[in-house]
């Protein structure tokens, strides 16, 4: 397993955990309508997200390796996979934002107002979603390319 695959697995674990925390705080603990007025839930969501980023940065630092004269860590096939994973993650995030926006519009259209807590969920979960899709895509593309390696 190379550096990109190891990082993708860690990234999946970190952002998957953060996404679960955010979903739990948002949906299970009082629901979206009361989220914006509950400072404790806002704080927990922010801390979860902050620790996620901290863990992610630490993970990047810990797993950092430099190419030596004898062993190359990354080459053109790795850059190609990274390029494709970035493109797929970007498109997935755009589609996710579009679909969620449309769902919220349809659900709250008659009311004419949208609980502002959804904006928090939108901001936090979209970030997690982007990282998760990128990690899953990277692992999938390596599996596709490497076969039985």
């Amino acid at each position: 397993m190379n550096q990109a695959q190891i990082r993708s697995i860690y990234s999946l674990v970190i952002w998957g955990t953060v996404a679960l925390v955010i979903c739990g705080v948002f949906f299970l603990w009082g629901g979206p309508e009361s989220f914006a007025g509950d400072s404790l839930r806002i704080l927990i969501a922010a801390l979860g997200f902050g620790f996620g980023y901290l863990g992610y940065i630490l993970m990047l630092k810990i797993t950092r390796k430099k190419s030596s004269a004898t062993a190359m860590l990354q080459d053109e096939s790795d850059y190609e996979i990274a390029r494709r994973a970035n493109g797929i993650a970007l498109m997935s995030v755009l589609v996710f934002i579009f679909i969620l926006s449309m769902i919220l519009f349809t659900v709250f259209q008659d009311l004419g107002v949208l609980p502002v807590g959804w904006m928090w969920f939108f901001a936090y979960f979209t970030s997690c979603f982007g990282y998760i899709v990128h990690a899953v895509t990277t692992l999938f593309l390596y599996k596709e390319m490497s076969g039985n390696d």
Binding site: N2, M72, D75, E76, S77, E80, M145, S146, G147, D149
Partner: protein, 80 residues
């Protein structure tokens, strides 16, 4: 509509050149062993630069190492 299919005989050439290992070939052409594995399994199409470097290691032309053919996607239409 067509799709490019690039085949190669890197594995055969490695064995013809003193049973060169994938690691050794990777080091000599400046790529990772994982890329050589993917190339041999025809799951990755190399850049032109890498293709030339591999051919040079074996003392061959690119044409002798890599093969090219077109695959037709819409085979039903082709038959008609």
């Amino acid at each position: 509509m067509t799709k490019d299919k690039i085949s190669n005989n890197i594995r055969k050439l490695r064995f013809e050149h003193g049973e060169m290992t994938q690691e050794e070939l990777a080091d000599r052409v400046g790529c990772t062993r994982q890329t050589i594995i993917a190339l041999e399994q025809e799951k990755y199409v190399p850049s032109l630069g890498l293709a030339f470097r591999i051919a040079r290691i074996f003392g061959k032309n690119v044409d002798d190492v890599f093969g090219y053919r077109e695959i037709f996607w819409e085979r039903k239409k082709e038959k008609r």
